[in-house]
């Protein structure tokens, strides 16, 4: 009877787990990997194991020393075998905890915040579902600098009247996450452009544009509270554009809410304008559930010019990914304020609506469809009276429908078509467009890709037909990409019988990757229409900041 009880107790104790702690004095591990020099042993926790400690195996009922710990992580030890001790993968290994360490508190397998070394946290409710990672505060607070600087030039010139345009652009984006491993981060996105034109220009014509889209300090007050100060575009309310001021967001579980207060950039030069006060609130919720996710944001914003309301509107944005096949996006703006001839009212006006859906039923086929409707945006205080009248008189909503289908015919041949239609109730600004292409990748013998595409467009006054052929390939171990193309374009006026000559385009472009941080590209194009020759040359160099 005693033997039976002992047997049951031992059997139960042994059956706890294949690695774990069967008593206060012993830890069980399992050999997870072996190579010529080392044996890797996994434990539930290696807190009580030190480098240089010995690990034992059970042979013939007794413990024999077999491995010496050379290095360790929170749950794994790298060991070297002793005296050619033979041990196989998945074999059990035992560590005898020294008496001095026996009183050390065992780490709980579900402990999160306090145990910074716990790598795996088992979700108690849904063990088969997603696994939360370790407390990532240490990872997130590590300083990280990323960015990109680009210098580019676009040049267009013609032999007709020696007309030309040169546009020089410099662009900088920089993100410094967790400055000095703190909770403070910095982001900026700047753009400078200078245009050099050959034609005579009217007085006041601008040729230089310096724009700051983002320049803000972000502070993580806590895991759920963030504050930003400076100029920043909030991705949850993207159509608002840049906000000069303070933005804060508070998250709790799947809900979030935020407030913005500050100023709107000047409507003429995008600089700071302290007269254009704006403030608002937004809220929403998001959820990630396996492959599905969705996020909805609703906000209200008041924009002022001085003490008068310029614009007041509600904003809604929704992103939905049902699974890895279907995703949707929609946004709308609803004006809640009108002020015509001094008569202010809360009359609503839908100024913008956008909806898109992406569907990929199988890997070979992808479909995208979208609809948009836009009206003039009116700032009742910033715009002059007659300008407001003109905008309201031309207050039709311009709409667009687009559908794009891409299909992979074979492993190397893929094709697609795109249909789009822009229209408005009075028939103006019409554009019906058809675009189709077929591409053969990895051409035999010569390599590279060959693309044939056509575009047909019909507007109220012009029909255009384009046919193009493009070849591109990577060379020098994909560091250099070269492409060349030919296009032929035929324009025809709808209601006028004017003989036009065809327009021919021929061009090439080169892209070069110099290491991980530098990219260069050069594009040149010649177009010929009768006696008219036009040239385009684009050049850019990009440096990654890491």
């Amino acid at each position: 009877m005693r033997k039976l009880v002992l047997l049951v107790i031992l059997g139960f104790a042994y059956g706890q787990s294949s690695y774990g702690q069967i008593s206060d004095s012993v830890l069980l591990g399992t050999v997870s990997f072996k190579n010529a020099n080392n044996v890797y042993v996994r434990f539930l926790s290696t807190e009580k194991i030190s480098i240089g400690d010995t690990l034992f195996v059970k042979t013939s009922g007794s413990l024999s020393p077999c491995l010496v710990v050379a290095a360790k992580s929170s749950i794994s030890c790298v060991t070297t075998p002793i005296k050619n001790c033979e041990i196989s993968q998945d074999a059990q290994v035992i560590f005898r905890i020294p008496l001095s360490k026996i009183s050390i508190k065992k780490p709980s397998p579900v402990e999160t915040k306090k145990s910074k070394d716990t790598l795996f946290l088992k979700d108690k409710k849904n063990p088969a579902d997603s696994i939360k990672t370790r407390d990532v505060s240490l990872i997130l607070n590590k300083q990280k600098i990323t960015g990109r600087f680009t210098a580019a030039s676009y040049s267009t010139f013609s032999n007709i009247d020696n007309a030309s345009l040169h546009s020089l652009t410099g662009r900088l984006s920089l993100n410094i996450d967790h400055i000095n491993n703190s909770k403070l981060s910095f982001e900026t996105y700047l753009n400078y452009r200078q245009n050099i034109v050959s034609k005579s220009t009217p007085e006041g014509y601008q040729t230089r544009f310096f724009r700051i889209y983002t320049m803000a300090l972000n502070y993580d007050v806590s895991k759920n509270i963030k504050v930003s100060i400076g100029r920043k575009i909030n991705n949850r309310i993207a159509s608002v554009g840049a906000i000069d001021g303070i933005q804060s967001e508070f998250k709790i579980k799947k809900f979030f809410t935020g407030a913005v207060i500050g100023f709107r950039p000047d409507i003429f030069d995008y600089g700071f304008n302290s007269k254009l006060l704006q403030f608002g609130l937004y809220g929403g919720f998001n959820q990630i559930n396996g492959k599905a996710s969705y996020e909805t944001t609703f906000g209200i914003l008041e924009q002022r010019n001085g003490s008068a309301t310029d614009r007041r509107y509600a904003y809604l944005q929704h992103t939905d990914r049902l699974n890895d096949k279907i995703s949707m996006f929609s946004s709308l703006e609803l004006d809640l304020f009108q002020n015509v001839n001094g008569n202010a009212s809360t009359k609503t006006r839908l100024t913008s609506f956008y909806y898109s859906i992406n569907y990929q039923p199988v890997r070979k086929l992808s479909i995208m469809a979208s609809y948009d409707s836009r009206r003039n945006i009116i700032y009742y205080e910033s715009f002059l009276g007659n300008e407001i009248d003109r905008l309201l008189a031309d207050d039709m909503n311009m709409q667009g429908v687009r559908i794009r289908i891409n299909y992979k015919l074979t492993k190397k041949i893929y094709s697609g078509i795109s249909l789009s239609n822009r229209f408005q109730p009075d028939g103006q600004n019409k554009s019906n467009n058809f675009y189709g292409f077929i591409t053969h990748s990895k051409l035999p013998w010569i390599g590279g890709n060959l693309n044939l595409n056509t575009n047909l467009n019909y507007s109220n006054y012009l029909e255009s037909k384009v046919l193009a052929l493009r070849y591109n390939r990577d060379i020098f171990k994909q560091k250099l990409n070269f492409s060349t193309y030919y296009r032929i374009v035929d324009y025809k006026y709808v209601n006028r019988d004017i003989a036009k000559s065809l327009q021919h385009y021929v061009g090439s472009d080169f892209s070069f990757s110099a290491g991980k941080n530098y990219s260069l590209s050069l594009m040149g194009e010649l177009s010929i229409r009768g006696a008219e020759n036009n040239y385009r040359i684009n050049f850019s160099i990009t440096k990654r900041i890491r």
Partner: protein, 323 residues
């Protein structure tokens, strides 16, 4: 009995990729030289700049399928939602800079051709951000309303011209006054006049008739014998737009008087004065061309009424034929 411990994967429970595709026994740090995992299998191909991006920029946690895979989730929308969220319409992973701007404009029904090809973006897209594509459509008057309002040669408003600029102007030409500008009445040859007022006597340009006689009535009245001979007021019966009023044709001459556009006399004359030597077009001469008197006399030696006289010629040969 033994109970197998619960094995947990840092990268998510459904992560089935072999560890060796990314990791190696040297340590957890990824050695890109030994990295064999094909990211294309996720459906998000690492092309262009995405190929150089650090993994952690997109994978904020070790559970890889939590990474965002739409543009807007990682990239700030500097266009302020003015063009939706379909970034691939204009951009590629190669660079945010766009090289095929003319092609994109063609797909939107406004080709950057003619005078529009050397315009800066901001010349049309006037948003203060320079990157917000507010609705401007593709009708000329949207941008050229000021040009319409300010034009004085002629004054478009007073003349009641349509705001459909294409009625007179060509969007893909290089200037306002293209050769086909006055396509409904060709301003060539005798009509190559720069001064619109020469024909358009009032500000109502549409009221100007394209009929020749509406401008050339005085010329008709003052022309020799036009009125007296009841010549047609359809000037093109005899004249073209060459300067000088040289009569090059008289379409009804055959039926009314004498065949000169058919029969023996077709292509035998250059101008009316070949047969009508004076301003009195009732007078004519055959003997100007048929001037070999002795030969003619011999040919007519059996004709009793023969006389070397134009009227006599016409009396016997009204159709210009020998018989």
């Amino acid at each position: 009995m033994s109970v197998q411990a619960y094995c947990q994967n840092t990268h998510g429970q459904n992560f089935k990729v072999d560890c060796r595709a990314c990791h190696n026994p040297g340590g957890w740090k990824i050695d890109m030289n030994k990295f064999t995992y094909n990211h294309d299998s996720t459906g998000f191909m690492l092309e262009g700049q995405h190929k150089k991006t650090d993994c952690k920029s997109c994978h904020k946690s070790l559970v890889f399928n939590e990474a965002k895979n739409t543009c807007a989730e990682c990239h700030t929308d500097v266009h302020g939602m003015s063009v939706g969220n379909d970034c691939a319409r204009c951009h590629t992973a190669k660079s945010w800079l766009v090289d095929n701007i003319p092609e994109l404009h063609e797909q939107n029904g406004f080709p950057l051709a003619g005078a529009h090809k050397v315009l800066a973006c901001v010349d049309c897209h006037k948003s203060e951000t320079t990157l917000k594509w507010d609705r401007i459509g593709n009708e000329c008057v949207t941008c050229h309303l000021n040009d319409y309002n300010k034009s004085t040669q002629p004054n478009h408003i007073q003349s009641g011209f349509s705001t459909n600029c294409v009625e007179c102007h060509e969007p893909i030409s290089n200037d306002w006054g293209s050769p086909n500008f006055h396509y409904f009445f060709q301003l060539t040859l005798g009509h190559a006049i720069k001064d619109c007022k020469a024909c358009h006597k009032t500000n109502d340009y549409k009221a100007t008739s394209p009929e020749c006689i509406s401008c050339h009535l005085n010329d008709y009245n003052n022309a020799p014998n036009h009125k007296a001979s009841s010549f047609s007021i359809i000037c093109t019966d005899c004249h073209n737009t060459e300067p000088g009023w040289v009569a090059t044709n008289f379409k009804n001459h055959d039926g009314l008087y004498f065949p000169i556009n058919s029969g023996k006399h077709n292509n035998t004359w250059n101008r009316c004065t070949d047969c009508h030597p004076t301003n009195n077009y009732k007078e004519f001469t055959c003997t100007n061309c048929h001037n070999n008197q002795s030969k003619l006399a011999k040919e007519h030696d059996e004709e009793n009424d023969y006389r070397f006289d134009s009227n006599a010629c016409y009396k016997c040969h009204p159709k210009g034929e020998a018989d």
